[in-house]
Symmetry: C2
């Protein structure tokens, strides 16, 4: 296992790490006949019940598995296993959808010999389609914890072009703590949980209430800062399991190394969020928008989301066009008020706009910069110390192609 060191935070990246990296977790995926030639169901299992926290879509239509998982966590603030299926989102499926989600949860619990409420369920795929229950039952009873057919992170993908996972290690109470994560989602990604499933595991011991606060806070800075197309799905969910196998003193906000845990969690969630943004449907480039000098952080967040959500900014980046006007424009219609004469903007190190006016810049160099895989748009206001970062991707022909023909 290769390790690279980030001295400042003392966070170590685990090469090829994922949700299976922390102690006491087994994960995997398999094909249960929902689609051809690739795994279509994934699972996570902890050897002991783990503190559990979730963040769920803000969409008024909330898919059945989210309702069932929330009900389960509410019971004891714990989960021991998670089951994820693709193809059917089990959303807008009425009472039958709810019954089916409960039934798959039950099958999984029976297969693992644990209580029903310790199983979380997640679905991604087409809305309005009932779960194929025969295949689900057969698939679940075929799960072999120690002999997975495929990695978890591959089994949960839909239009994603690549698996998204990472893990980090750091010390708490002198014990080695690991946090791992995997996620899926490329279209319909937008702040406030879009068609995105995120799963984070850790062997840290964490009090459930503190875990829930930590997840909400970190998701707000990471998963909720990415956008692909502005649509927020009915199925988005991020689940975090902490099984305590690292044997640290149980963490909460009073623990002296609480911030270390938060940093590690943010590291994992930010990494996953950026993977999703960079793998947006049809995307060729990851865009990072940095806003500083805003009235406050909230104002900066609104402005950053306005820029990253602009179809015109996204198409300009796709075309490697240093079209600062569109960035300025998106700042201007964000709904935030500010002195336009104090606004500056740069693409990477190329300043294009300073104190409310365009400045001369080398178009060729700017274009060469925009031709890269990763583009940083920096904007600065003259209002205060508020800052924010948001991530997204370019808008391309392939986005249209993928989404004009997804269902059929």
């Amino acid at each position: 296992m290769e390790e690279t060191y980030h001295k400042q935070t003392e966070i170590i990246h685990i090469e090829d790490g994922s949700v299976g990296s922390p102690n006491g977790f087994k994960t995997g995926g398999q094909n249960i006949g929902l689609r051809t030639g690739r795994p279509d169901m994934g699972w996570i299992y902890s050897e002991v019940p783990a503190s559990a926290a979730g963040v769920y879509t803000t969409n008024v239509f909330q898919a059945a598995p989210l309702q069932v998982t929330q009900a389960g966590i509410a019971k004891e603030k714990k989960l021991q296993a998670i089951l994820v299926n693709t193809v059917s989102a089990n959303s807008c499926t009425g009472e039958q959808g709810i019954d089916n989600a409960f039934m798959t949860r039950k099958w999984m619990a029976e297969h693992l010999g644990i209580s029903d409420h310790l199983v979380g369920v997640a679905s991604t795929g087409v809305i309005g389609m009932q779960l194929p229950m025969d295949k689900m039952e057969h698939g679940i009873t075929g799960i072999a914890l120690d002999a997975p057919e495929a990695p978890f992170e591959e089994a949960i993908l839909t239009t994603d072009t690549k698996p998204k996972h990472l893990a980090v290690q750091f010390e708490i109470d002198g014990k080695k703590v690991t946090i791992g994560g995997a996620c899926k989602g490329s279209g319909m990604i937008h702040p406030n949980m879009a068609t995105m499933l995120g799963f984070v595991t850790t062997d840290a011991a964490v009090e459930p209430d503190a875990l829930s606060l930590a997840l909400k806070s970190v998701v707000n800075q990471t998963f909720n800062r990415i956008t692909v197309d502005g649509d927020t799905s009915t199925n988005d969910m991020v689940l975090l399991l902490a099984n305590g196998q690292a044997e640290n003193h149980q963490l909460n906000e009073q623990h002296p190394e609480w911030q270390t845990f938060l940093n590690g969690l943010e590291h994992v969630c930010q990494g996953l969020a950026k993977f999703i943004a960079g793998d947006g449907e049809g995307a060729t480039k990851l865009i990072e928008v940095q806003v500083s000098g805003a009235k406050d952080d909230h104002s900066a967040e609104i402005i950053s989301k306005s820029i990253i959500g602009s179809s015109l900014v996204k198409t300009a980046v796709f075309g490697s066009d240093a079209n600062w006007g569109r960035v300025i424009c998106a700042m201007g219609y964000s709904g935030e008020h500010f002195d336009t004469n104090k606004v500056s903007m740069a693409l990477g190190d190329f300043v294009l706009f300073k104190d409310g006016m365009p400045v001369d810049f080398n178009e060729e160099q700017a274009k060469a910069y925009l031709d890269g895989d990763s583009v940083v748009i920096k904007t600065k206001l003259g209002e205060g110390f508020g800052k924010a970062v948001a991530w997204g991707c370019d808008l391309t022909y392939n986005y249209v192609k993928i989404n004009a023909s997804y269902r059929s």
Copy 2:
């Protein structure tokens, strides 16, 4: 001049009508060397000073011509002429941009022999580019009111694929009143005035304050209900001139036929707004979203805008995919709360979703319907009597093509 009658409203459409249709207006366009092979500057002239009202972009960055035009109208609530240039938007151009806008206004006023403040100026094109003043001066002094080179509505276009104009006639006080309109704008179109210029003229006599109220109210129901890509530009403006040549008793809210005037104005503005939505950049289809049964009209408006603004809905319509899930999803993340079990949805006459659940429908027939030029998405909630309509277009390969290479 052919006329078609709409009995219910007694509003007569004037074939090929435009801003030049009402009595006492002269309009035209010409090439002043800003671009090759097509007219690039347009003008409207009223034989007498007209009551004037304007609605302006909500973007914090407001282009110089908007500031200058507002200042002019503020003086006497009147305009007698409007000058529109393409290619340079005269936005983010600092003090020099303001000076230049004042100077072009002055040249136009001198050429027409009227006061400066009676000239409105509008610009559309690239942000950050100063007006080419030599060409502007030469162009303005070459304006021949009675011998225009080109129609006004052609001279103001940018990425539009066709001119957009109409005019209607109806009676007030037994006098024939005409309202004409022309507009441009296809990308960056979104509620709250996007890169869109709208010009409406009428020979009705209307008190300036009433005119202003009428325009604000009607724009909110029409131009502010269309979206192409969610971006709101720095240059959007709708101007309305009423020169009184119809010789009706001056209209205000107390006039018994005030509503007739409002209906006529809405007719023109809705027509122009739909032209813009249907001619969105790269668009192949006009989409109309109807929401009913919402808690109130405001709630319905928010839901309608959420649907029409969804990139996933727009690409599904492009691909003729009866993907009701995306419509439901966009309703769900609108921010409005409602009982999901009382939601129904139809594409034209094809009901796809009823009381919170999908219903069987004939995919082939739905696809055939979606293959048309015009698609109506109907959604119904069970909350109250609120309703709203919004218009937009599909999201296509050509949208990406146009916007990935606009500036270069």
